[in-house]
């Protein structure tokens, strides 16, 4: 039986309560009659033989480029860059797609007699990956072959000796990327395209770039003009990256792009109810829900976090394409949409969403309040094409505990941003005046380069991610959030969903129309 497409449910009196994520917990909420719930398509069938599919993609590239084996020769410098720990979510079961792809690329390189090979984790300004995270992404064989010989690098956006400025785009944007990558005879970039935003020219132009380059598109203005940043053709973020990517190509950097897509088989068997429609829950699903909910409720938050971050997703590859960046990305985007697209008619007054324990920037870490805002107002709000799911001036209701808690190792500058910037202003444009002092702070730079800290400027990017939503919405309400943290974010707090709906009526009027985004698993709403 083929997987069913996405579905928009209209809530009536017989509709069972709807599942909401609530950080490390879940909640069942009864939505008002007439509300609609958007469910993503069921997981697409995985490729039967992913290794063969990868081989085929490498030898049958898209666009005007030679097959990978034809581009490999003895004595050449080959660099293989790959997406970092922020993808996929949750981390997938072994073998990770990066491992499968890189092993094939390395086999071809070995066959061609290529000796000078370096692997680079394309961190941009993200934290450095730990050894277990690298082993998970690359597999032990690749890790052991490269890491001990200092051939497994993590991109350092603050290493002046290993950055090269390639020039300015016709919009005056600096393009500065990893020197080894830029000066290699061939740069192979291995992507996991979890959402439509990922990949394309963004891979190299962002993943291997410096702050000097990134600041041109990671800012409030760009994000306010990206509607949404999940829709490449309406995204100023992408337009800027595309300009940079083309300049990179024009500078002579040869990029062989490999992009892979995943199905939305996101949670293992014991959490399978999370990706099923509630009225179709079997007795086993109900039992799993009750058991999971009860045990998570009784588990101390730190332990619950640990348990959930231990989840390895069963999602599997649905496509792999390789070759010229733009040709590859066009087909990849089709595959992403095929898995995630749901047609939706019209915008509602209120959009609700339950936020889970994880986002791209807190893998094996704490979802701090800034990341909660970013996940809700950045990522989930932007999971649309056409128009936002909620009308202008509408209300976004997030379901998350929003603990006032930070990981000091991973997010040191987030703490200062929360305490010293958000106390002054929550306006994404206004906060820009503090950006440079964070971006150039020697302590944050030290921690980014030598520890496992996100770059000093990263919390600003998280807040810029919210810029479009903040401009669009009339109010944001967080159900069950920490009072002080929610207040600091500039949002309102409600104890229950019913309270939040009453509060929302002050903004959008009586009897509002409500949409609930039933994610994750991730989806993309095509709103007409």
């Amino acid at each position: 039986m083929s997987p069913r497409p996405g579905f928009v449910l209209e809530v009536d009196r017989s509709t069972p309560p709807t599942l909401f994520w609530h950080g490390e917990r879940f909640a069942l909420e009864r939505l008002p009659t007439g509300s609609r719930v958007i469910y993503g398509p069921e997981p697409l069938a995985a490729l039967a033989d992913p290794v063969a599919a990868i081989r085929h993609a490498l030898t049958h590239p898209l666009g005007d480029v030679d097959p990978l084996p034809a581009q490999l020769r003895p004595g050449m410098r080959l660099t293989i860059a790959f997406d970092d720990v922020s993808l996929p979510l949750p981390p997938m079961r072994r073998p990770d797609l990066r491992q499968l792809v890189i092993e094939q690329v390395l086999e071809l390189a070995a066959d061609a007699g290529v000796d000078d090979v370096v692997l680079i984790a394309a961190l941009a300004l993200h934290r450095r990956m730990t050894e277990p995270e690298l082993r998970h992404a690359l597999g032990d064989r690749v890790y052991d072959a490269f890491a001990p010989h200092d051939l497994l690098w993590q991109h350092d956006a603050e290493d002046p000796d290993n950055l090269v400025h390639l020039g300015l785009t016709d919009h005056g944007e600096d393009v500065e990327i990893n020197k080894r990558a830029a000066e290699s005879d061939l740069l192979v970039y291995v992507n996991i395209n979890l959402v439509a935003m990922d990949g394309g020219h963004k891979s190299v132009a962002t993943g291997l770039a410096s702050y000097r380059s990134l600041r041109h598109h990671h800012n409030a203005r760009t994000m306010q003009h990206s509607r949404s940043f999940m829709d490449q053709h309406q995204s100023e973020l992408h337009t800027s990256n595309w300009r940079m990517g083309r300049l990179i190509a024009a500078s002579g950097v040869k990029v062989f792009q490999i992009e892979t897509t995943l199905n939305t088989d996101t949670f293992p068997e014991q959490f399978r109810f999370l990706q099923r429609r509630e009225w179709e829950w079997t007795l086993r699903d109900r039992a799993s829900f009750v058991a999971s909910s009860n045990s998570l409720r009784r588990t101390p938050p730190r332990l619950a976090r640990q348990l959930l971050h231990g989840i390895r997703a069963p999602h599997r590859m649905t496509s792999v394409q390789a070759g010229e960046v733009e040709a590859v990305h066009a087909l990849t985007t089709e595959h992403v949409y095929a898995q995630q697209r749901v047609e939706v008619e019209g915008q509602s007054d209120i959009l609700t969403m339950g936020l889970p324990y994880i986002c791209p920037y807190n893998v094996n870490s704490i979802m701090n309040p800034i990341l909660v805002a970013c996940l809700g107002l950045g990522y989930f709000f932007n999971l649309y094409r056409g128009k936002p799911l909620v009308r202008e001036g509408g209300v976004l209701i997030l379901h998350h505990p929003t603990p006032n808690e930070f990981n000091p190792v991973h997010h040191p500058s987030y703490i200062d941003f929360f305490e010293q910037v958000l106390t002054e202003t929550t306006d994404p444009v206004e906060i820009g005046k503090y950006e440079e002092s964070f971006a150039t702070d020697p302590w944050y730079i030290h921690l980014y380069r030598t520890g496992h800290a996100y770059h000093g400027v990263h919390p600003f990017y998280m807040w810029y991610w919210c810029a479009h939503a903040l401009e669009h919405l009339g109010a944001v309400i967080v159900v069950g959030g920490d009072r002080e943290a929610v207040r600091r974010l500039g949002f309102k707090r409600a104890s229950t969903l019913a309270d939040a709906l009453e509060m929302a009526e002050d903004v959008v009027g009586r009897d509002p129309w409500l949409t609930h985004l039933h994610a994750p698993p991730v989806m993309m709403a095509d709103v007409r």
Binding site: T423, P442, W443
Partner: protein, 417 residues
């Protein structure tokens, strides 16, 4: 005979107050401590130049609380004389004067309480007094008065917590300008301490200055630093929301909670960090708390060869001075007032403080006024001022004794108490 609060030497009561304060919190042991409400005669004028002052408002200071909580350092034992009437933050009215150049009865005055060489009729005065640095007087336990470093700690002068009044020498009295309210005026003494500290901090224009603590002294210090110095950045650590708001209003560029202060200093000074110790740090840290923890924090966030100014009254503290030694930090106390040199001009600290109080409207820091009869409540309120949304608690010597429990009066401009 009039009502007054008198502090007596009474070891069992002293011990009881200490235990109660340790268990129930600052200011909660007053009822069983050495302070008692009694009837006293007005103090006699000690000699020529002395005035009798009828207090209008008298503040409860951090050092008063330390005394009532029996937490004061034993260092002070020889510098006070018993029994004494506390209260050294005083605005009042001259009732009687003796000697040359008297102030006219009815003149509204604030009292500069240090009992230096001139009030003590010591001639020649000690070097500090000769230079006008009365806070540094070497003879506060000598002369024709009983020992007592200030009015409010001397058995002969009375103090502000008394309807029977106090006596002060002409050199200790400053006429209050008409533009200042009584609430403003009662803030002059603590503001003079803040002015002295701000000037003692030797702030340069490029400096990052951190102020630890945002009670009365901390807030007044922020106002004084903002008025009298031009630091590049003035960062304040304030525990409670109303303190943070006031600190920002009084001129702090950045206000954070105390636990965040080292982080804010680190960021502004673009320092690195090794565990809790900043490698660089603030040029000047003004510690308006005076605890072991605040001193430790001050040393952890001051730059090498920087300056820590201790304004809050410390007691016996245990602290690791290795960073002070290794980083060649200057640790200096800032006590009281005297004469300051501002732009090459010598001015009495109190005169500068009167300007600062007027410029910032510091009378708004007075949060509640109590009659003497409700001294236990007043002291408890002062002991929990921060938690209860208050700053300065004062005795109102003109208030009628209550016939039934009444709510304290709040300053119209002050935060809720």
């Amino acid at each position: 005979m009039k009502k007054a609060l008198v502090f007596e030497r009474n070891v069992p009561r002293f011990a009881a107050a200490r235990v109660a304060a340790a268990i129930a919190g600052s200011g909660r042991g007053t009822g069983i401590g050495p302070l008692r409400l009694t009837e006293v005669d007005p103090p006699a004028l000690p000699g020529p130049g002395w005035h009798r002052v009828r207090p209008t408002l008298a503040g409860i200071c951090g050092s008063d609380l330390a005394t009532l909580d029996a937490k004061s350092s034993r260092y002070f034992e020889e510098l006070v004389s018993f029994p004494f009437v506390p209260g050294h933050e005083v605005v009042g009215v001259v009732e009687e004067a003796d000697g040359p150049d008297p102030l006219a009865p009815g003149t509204r005055v604030v009292v500069e309480p240090v009992l230096g060489c001139i009030p003590r009729a010591i001639t020649p005065p000690c070097p500090a007094c000769a230079e006008g640095r009365t806070g540094g007087c070497e003879r506060v336990a000598f002369g024709h008065l009983s020992p007592g470093l200030q009015i409010g700690y001397c058995a002969d002068t009375g103090g502000g917590w008394s309807a029977a009044g106090l006596v002060a020498h002409r050199v200790q009295l400053h006429a209050v300008p008409d533009g200042l309210t009584d609430e403003d005026a009662v803030m002059v003494e603590p503001t003079a301490c803040a002015v002295h500290a701000a000037l003692d901090a030797e702030v340069d224009p490029d400096d990052v200055v951190a102020v630890l603590g945002a009670g009365t002294l901390g807030l007044a210090t922020i106002a004084a630093l903002r008025t009298l110095t031009t630091p590049a950045t003035l960062i304040a650590g304030a525990k409670h929301a109303h303190q943070r708001q006031l600190a920002a209003e009084l001129g702090a560029d950045s206000v954070v909670t105390p636990d965040q202060l080292p982080r804010a200093v680190r960021r502004r000074s673009r320092s690195l960090a090794l565990a809790d110790q900043l490698t660089a740090g603030a040029d000047v840290v003004v510690d308006c708390v005076g605890s072991a923890e605040s001193l430790r924090q001050s040393l952890a966030m001051v730059r090498p060869r920087g300056r820590v100014v201790l304004v809050g009254m410390p007691g016996s503290v245990h602290i690791d001075l290795a960073p002070l030694w290794h980083r060649e930090v200057a640790l200096t106390g800032a006590y009281a007032y005297g004469t300051e040199l501002v732009d090459g001009v010598a001015r009495r600290t109190f005169d500068i403080a009167i300007d600062v109080v007027g410029a910032h409207g510091l009378g708004r820091l007075v949060s509640a006024r109590y009659p003497l009869e409700r001294y236990e409540e007043a002291v408890a309120h002062a002991g929990a001022a921060g938690r209860r949304g208050a700053v300065k608690i004062v005795f109102d010597l003109e208030a009628r004794p209550p016939t039934s429990p009444a709510r304290p009066r709040h300053s119209p401009k002050g935060p809720p108490a």
